[in-house]
């Protein structure tokens, strides 16, 4: 269970999150929608522990732990995953090497046995196949020269490998073609279960036809202004944020 209470945060003296209250029970998938610049990515960064944000108030607990007190890598090892809106390029770092290093860092932190190169390759190939991605992806440098869609798929590949218990997907659907959208959604749905929760940030109701959310929240100007069932997404699509938030 992820519980966010009265969370306020600012960056460079500018307040972005203005008191967020949100609960994501175990096993549920919640969608967050909201206009550009409303603070969706900021929320995802604050939840994953990015530096540079001043958390001025509120609290975040995850399965009873104080999430905000943890280092980003501790959060990752504890099962939190962020699919970046803008995946970062790492020149010279092979994707396979990166993924295995990351996976093993998490496993080590949890006191689990590391996966050797062979076992990793087998695992990675399996996941790639499910996501209809080519093995070539593993040989390339992390996100370098990847198309927008490839970057997003690479995020989903990482998510599939890390097998998180809480995934934040920040506009993972943006830039995906229709087939990719379906494949990526299948990737998320494959993880669905009583121990998996997710926050899906999106601008498009279409994604939510594939990943059907338990709840939909509207984030505007640093606050959750409305929450509802999946039909809220349809309403937003039809009426726009101005109408919806006033409702």
């Amino acid at each position: 269970m992820l519980r966010i209470e009265g969370l306020t945060a600012e960056i460079e003296g500018k307040q972005i999150l203005k008191g967020i209250d949100l609960e994501v029970p175990k096993g549920e998938i919640h969608a967050i929608m909201g206009p550009n610049g409303s603070g969706k990515s900021t929320l995802s960064y604050v939840l994953s522990g990015r530096e540079g944000y001043d958390i001025t108030g509120g609290s975040v607990t995850w399965n009873g732990q104080d999430l905000l007190a943890m280092e980003p890598e501790e959060r990752a090892a504890a099962g939190l995953f962020l699919a970046f809106q803008y995946p970062v390029e790492l020149p010279g770092v092979g994707n396979a090497n990166f993924l295995r290093t990351a996976l093993n860092a998490q496993r080590r932190a949890r006191g689990e046995k590391e996966v050797d190169a062979m076992a990793f390759l087998k695992l990675a190939r399996e996941k790639l196949k499910k996501l209809h991605m080519s093995d070539e992806m593993l040989k390339r440098n992390v996100n370098v020269g990847f198309s927008g869609g490839e970057k997003k798929r690479n995020e989903v590949l990482q998510m599939a490998l890390m097998n998180p218990s809480m995934a934040i997907l920040d506009e993972t659907d943006s830039g995906l073609d229709i087939d990719a959208l379906r494949i990526v959604s299948e990737g998320v749905n494959a993880l669905r279960g009583p121990d998996f929760s997710s926050l899906v940030i999106t601008h498009y109701q279409r994604l939510l036809n594939y990943i059907v959310p338990d709840r939909v929240h509207v984030l505007m100007d640093g606050r959750i202004v409305r929450s509802g069932g999946k039909e809220l997404a349809e309403e937003l699509e039809a009426q726009g944020y101005g109408q919806a938030s006033a409702a």
Binding site: E71, A76, A77, L90, V93, N97, A105, Q106
Partner: protein
């Protein structure tokens, strides 16, 4: 699998922090009296039972050195070295002349173990039965080790296997005794005595080093490897290495160093000479991690090395690959003299400086033959308050028709108190020659660090990974075993540089 894919284990295995290899081995020493004069030069020569010509050669160098002045143009600064306040000869006392590893001082073997001499070599040195005998067992080339322990080569393995091919791989002192004609012909032929201050000093007082001769048409069946280690207190190290690849031969040579921690600065002034004849190839790889001094810059090794290769034959090739993470002060320019037509010179370098380290390194490529080609890839990483300078010279003579050079210098800065400098000199006196130069300076971006951390790497692992990525073009030139060690070193040497 590419060598860089090994980062995972290596980066993880070095979490202890600090300089791991700071210990001193307790072995009886035999010293020459402190100081430097003609008598010391005679003492060294006598101790090594050298022929008259070599003593004369040393004395000539010494006379020349006395007239020379220490260079001061490199972008490094260090306290004045008192050349009279050091020992110029220290040898582990031989019990009966170690002909086999059983006779090697167990203390020495312990030292190797602590050094973490990688994989195969450790087994070989530890005398594990059959270790290294079958090149097929790991799909890699076996490694022969000529260990330079302070000043005298103590153990040489793989002798028999090598001698079957007519390859000579021994200490230079041994070569002086057993192959004087080769030593006499080539010693000082690439780096003349008066070449520079430190090379001249080395010529006068060099104690030991490696000698390699690969006969015509022979492809050396294994990597040749030397582990240098400065051990005795206040013992300057003056290695002398000479590698000759005869026509059509091929050899890959590895040099690796670690040194015990200590307070005084120590001088190291080695000379390495390489000679490649027609169609011969020499690949010389170095991983250097001498004690860089503590976090305040105290202690550490002064490393003033002269490394030069002569591509004498047509289509010959000399390739230098180095990973420099150690030393308080480094002054080093592995160079190639491209005499033979169509000969090729390469320089791949990673130089890391942290805390108060200073490095002034680079290369010189002298294009003399026609259609000679050189490639320079330099990756400088500076952290802490360190200064990292790339200084390169590409010189193309009027005769070098069709010569080509490509130079790429990339600097990576970690923190805002360090410096990176690029000083490329190009002297092109041939209109048909083509010279290209590219340079970049960058920082590790916050979003890269965060991306790695969000995936579970801690900050230091993240820096290690990003830095290894930055150096990939160079690391991939290293033989497998070395690449692993190099990655480990990169991570160690940048510990504490972020946050």
């Amino acid at each position: 699998m590419p060598a860089v894919a090994e980062t995972i284990e290596t980066v993880q295995s070095v979490q202890e922090g600090g300089y791991k290899w700071g210990f001193e081995t307790d072995i009886e020493m035999e010293f020459a009296p402190k100081g430097l004069n003609e008598d010391i030069v005679r003492f060294i020569s006598k101790k090594k039972n050298e022929p008259e010509w070599l003593l004369e050669w040393r004395l000539k160098a010494f006379a020349l050195w006395q007239k020379m002045e220490e260079p001061n143009w490199a972008a490094v600064s260090y306290p004045k070295i008192d050349y009279q306040d050091a020992y110029y000869y220290a040898a582990p006392v031989k019990k009966a002349g170690p002909k086999s590893l059983d006779e090697v001082d167990p203390e020495l073997l312990k030292t190797y173990a602590k050094l973490g001499i990688p994989l195969k070599e450790q087994a070989i040195l530890a005398g594990v039965e059959g270790a290294g005998e079958s090149p097929a067992d790991s799909g890699r080339m076996p490694v022969a080790v000529d260990a330079v322990f302070d000043s005298v080569s103590v153990a040489t393995t793989f002798r028999d296997e090598l001698s079957k091919h007519g390859i000579i791989f021994c200490s230079i002192s041994e070569a002086v005794q057993e192959h004087p004609e080769l030593v006499r012909e080539y010693l000082g032929s690439v780096v003349p005595q008066g070449d520079n201050y430190f090379a001249c000093l080395n010529s006068a007082v060099f104690t030991d080093g490696s000698f390699v001769y690969i006969p015509k048409g022979v492809r050396c069946p294994m990597e040749l490897s030397t582990y240098f280690r400065i051990n005795a207190k206040s013992t300057g190290q003056f290695e002398r290495t000479l590698i000759i690849a005869d026509a059509g031969s091929h050899v890959s040579y590895l040099e690796g160093c670690t040194a015990p921690q200590r307070d005084e600065n120590q001088l190291h002034a080695a000379v390495v000479e390489l000679v490649a004849m027609d169609d011969a190839t020499i690949k010389y790889s170095t991983v250097q991690n001498w004690y860089p001094g503590d976090a305040d810059g105290k202690g550490g090794i002064y490393n003033f090395v002269t490394k030069r290769g002569a591509c004498r034959g047509a289509r010959s090739k000399i390739s230098w690959t180095q990973v420099e993470t150690g030393s308080a002060v480094t002054w080093k320019y592995p160079s190639c003299i491209l005499l033979g037509d169509d000969s090729v010179g390469e320089f791949y370098s990673v130089a890391v400086t942290n805390n108060f380290q200073q490095a002034d390194t680079g290369t010189k490529m002298f294009h003399i033959g026609r259609n000679t080609k050189s490639t320079i890839v330099s990756k400088g990483i500076s952290a802490g308050r360190s200064q990292n300078t790339y200084r390169g010279l590409v010189k193309i003579s009027p005769k070098a028709k069709g010569a080509r050079n490509f130079t790429q210098c990339d600097s990576l800065l970690i923190g805002d108190q360090c410096g990176a400098h690029t000083v490329p000199y190009i002297e092109n006196r041939c209109i048909t020659a083509k010279v290209e130069h590219e340079a970049t300076t960058s920082r590790i971006a916050e979003d890269q660090l965060f991306y790695c951390r969000a995936r579970g790497l801690n900050e230091e692992e993240a820096v290690g990974l990003i830095v290894n990525g930055f150096c990939r073009e160079v690391l991939k030139e290293l033989p497998m075993e070395f690449a692993v060690e190099a990655q480990k070193l990169l991570a160690i040497s940048l510990e504490g540089s972020v946050g």
